[in-house]
């Protein structure tokens, strides 16, 4: 029998708020977390603004022991803080390091797009080139290995089920949630901590600046720089952070009497095959439509059930095509597309963390009965103009919000779509 999957814990470290309470408030207010970035300025980037979570080191010092912190680079800190918050939110206590008990029923799929490049660039490469390999000490490998973040979290929380890291560029964070949901549906785990993290590092962002895909025209007004769906969108804004959700079988959550934030009604992942207009860097629109349609079908939902859309919507030239794909997938004529919003308008593009932070935004919207504003698109892109009425520029109260779709598209022409449903309390629904 296929298990139903619900969300029982949330944790987020985002440029406009750490912790779900602050993140929720920031989303409602349409508060930007984009700031001038000193490293990008120093290194002569064309784009000099980024979304970086604030106050993270102090927060990490209050959560983790000193020796552990010595081996935690930025993505480790973001991921671990969000994971511990999700764990506690789900009603569990963080185990003592000398407590030998293991939770065999809980695993983790925590992804990253780029990984520990900050450690590679700041330590491994310069020390190695200077013939000082020995000075790297013992902590380089665990910080640069792709699975570093899931490995770190499993040690903090004594997880005993599958622990791994996925990577699918900008769809990573949402894909992790899809993969964890699948594992629970198949009965292989009761609970999975899922999401993604990406460090704030100009070394991670340099290649994107070289591709000219980062916004370079708004360096003097950082809060206006991330402009999804806008006629004046000039590329995405580099972002960072982490989002982690505790996924749980409905059976386990009911047995524990856990608070349920939302249900994962269905999901789909696919690849556009770099054909039919798709490429390494652009999604095949047919792949996107199939992905969205597949998620709806898996959830047993029709287009009319969709209450809101949290798009991938990065503020590049791909936005109009994405809106076209949503309209086609939902058979929505202009004026009938559900409210569509971009969390990236406030936090920038968190790469491997994006889909996870934005999924938490979706769940908060369902719980709070609202659609958060999509800021900085007062000047809607001409090709999106027919659907302009579907874009909330200010907080949209929507107490009857039942279903939110979240999609993510990544380099490699990979797609993911998640269907989140408000938790009805009805355990009998199939």
């Amino acid at each position: 029998m296929s298990e139903r999957v619900v969300v029982t814990g949330l944790g987020v470290i985002a440029p406009n708020g750490n912790g779900v309470r602050d993140f929720d408030l920031a989303l409602r207010k349409g508060q930007s977390g984009i700031r001038e970035n000193a490293d990008m300025i120093e290194s002569g980037f064309a784009s000099q603004v980024a979304g970086v979570p604030q106050g993270v080191d102090a927060l990490a010092e209050s959560y983790f022991e000193e020796d552990m912190l010595l081996a935690m680079n930025m993505s480790h800190r973001y991921a671990s803080l969000a994971a511990v918050d999700a764990w506690k939110d789900a009603g569990f206590a963080v185990p003592q390091a000398d407590d030998d008990r293991i939770d065999w029923d809980t695993g983790a799929i925590l992804g990253t797009g780029i990984g520990g490049m900050d450690t590679s660039a700041e330590r491994v490469v310069p020390f190695t080139n200077a013939k000082k390999v020995r000075r790297l000490g013992s902590t380089a490998v665990e910080q640069v290995m792709a699975s570093g973040i899931s490995a770190r979290v499993s040690g903090i929380l004594a997880l005993g089920n599958q622990v791994t890291t996925n990577s699918s560029a900008c769809s990573t964070g949402a894909e992790a949630i899809a993969m964890g949901a699948e594992r629970i549906r198949n009965g292989h785990a009761k609970r999975m901590l899922c999401g993604g993290a990406e460090a704030a590092s100009h070394y991670i962002w340099a290649g994107f600046d070289a591709m000219r895909v980062l916004c370079r025209s708004m360096n003097d007004t950082p809060e206006r720089a991330s402009r999804p769906m806008s006629a004046s969108a000039g590329g995405f804004v580099a972002g960072s952070g982490a989002g982690v959700v505790m996924l749980e079988s409905l059976e386990s959550a009911s047995e524990r009497g856990a608070t349920i934030h939302a249900e994962i009604a269905g999901h789909n992942v696919n690849c556009g095959g770099h054909r039919q207009g798709g490429s390494m860097t652009a999604p095949n629109p047919n792949g996107v439509r199939r992905c969205i349609g597949g998620a709806l079908a898996a959830a047993g939902l029709g287009p009319s059930d969709v209450g809101a859309i949290n798009g991938h919507l990065t503020a590049t030239g791909a936005d109009p095509k994405e809106i076209g794909s949503w309209a086609a997938a939902l058979s929505a004529k202009p004026g009938t597309l559900p409210p569509i919003t971009s969390t990236k308008s406030m936090i920038g593009h968190g790469l491997g963390a994006a889909g996870a932070m934005e999924s938490i935004a979706c769940i908060l919207m369902l719980e709070g009965g609202y659609v958060h504003p999509s800021i900085n698109c007062e000047d809607v892109h001409p090709e999106i103009e027919p659907h302009a009425d579907s874009i909330p520029h200010t907080l949209l109260e929507k107490p009857d919000l039942e279903v939110v779709l979240k999609a993510g598209f990544g380099f490699g022409d990979v797609n993911v779509c998640l269907a989140f449903r408000k938790w009805s309390g009805d355990v009998s629904r199939v």
């Binding site: 000193e66 010595l70 390091a97 000398d98 013992s138 902590t139």
Partner: protein, 82 residues
């Protein structure tokens, strides 16, 4: 630098890595770094790097293999200080 001073600095460097706080509270030259203080053996390379920086000495990998107790570390550092 006298032996007591080296001992105190060695203990201070070890402190963040110590998992057994009770053993740390009663630390002596005879205290075993791995067995008593429960320092993760993988982290010894980091401890040695900190010794090198703190005492301005160079410690060869083969020298480290002979270090088991806090006293072994103190003696090794003092021998390198010349």
């Amino acid at each position: 630098m006298d032996k007591q001073e080296v001992f105190e600095r060695v203990v201070k460097i070890l402190t963040p890595y110590v998992k057994n706080q009770e053993a740390l509270a009663q630390v002596t030259l005879e205290t075993h770094i791995l067995d008593d203080l429960k320092v993760n053996s993988a982290r010894l390379v980091d401890v040695v790097l900190e010794f090198e920086d703190a005492f301005d000495v160079e410690i060869a990998d083969e020298d480290v293999d002979a270090v088991e107790t806090v006293g072994n570390a103190v003696d090794l550092i003092r021998s390198k200080q010349g």
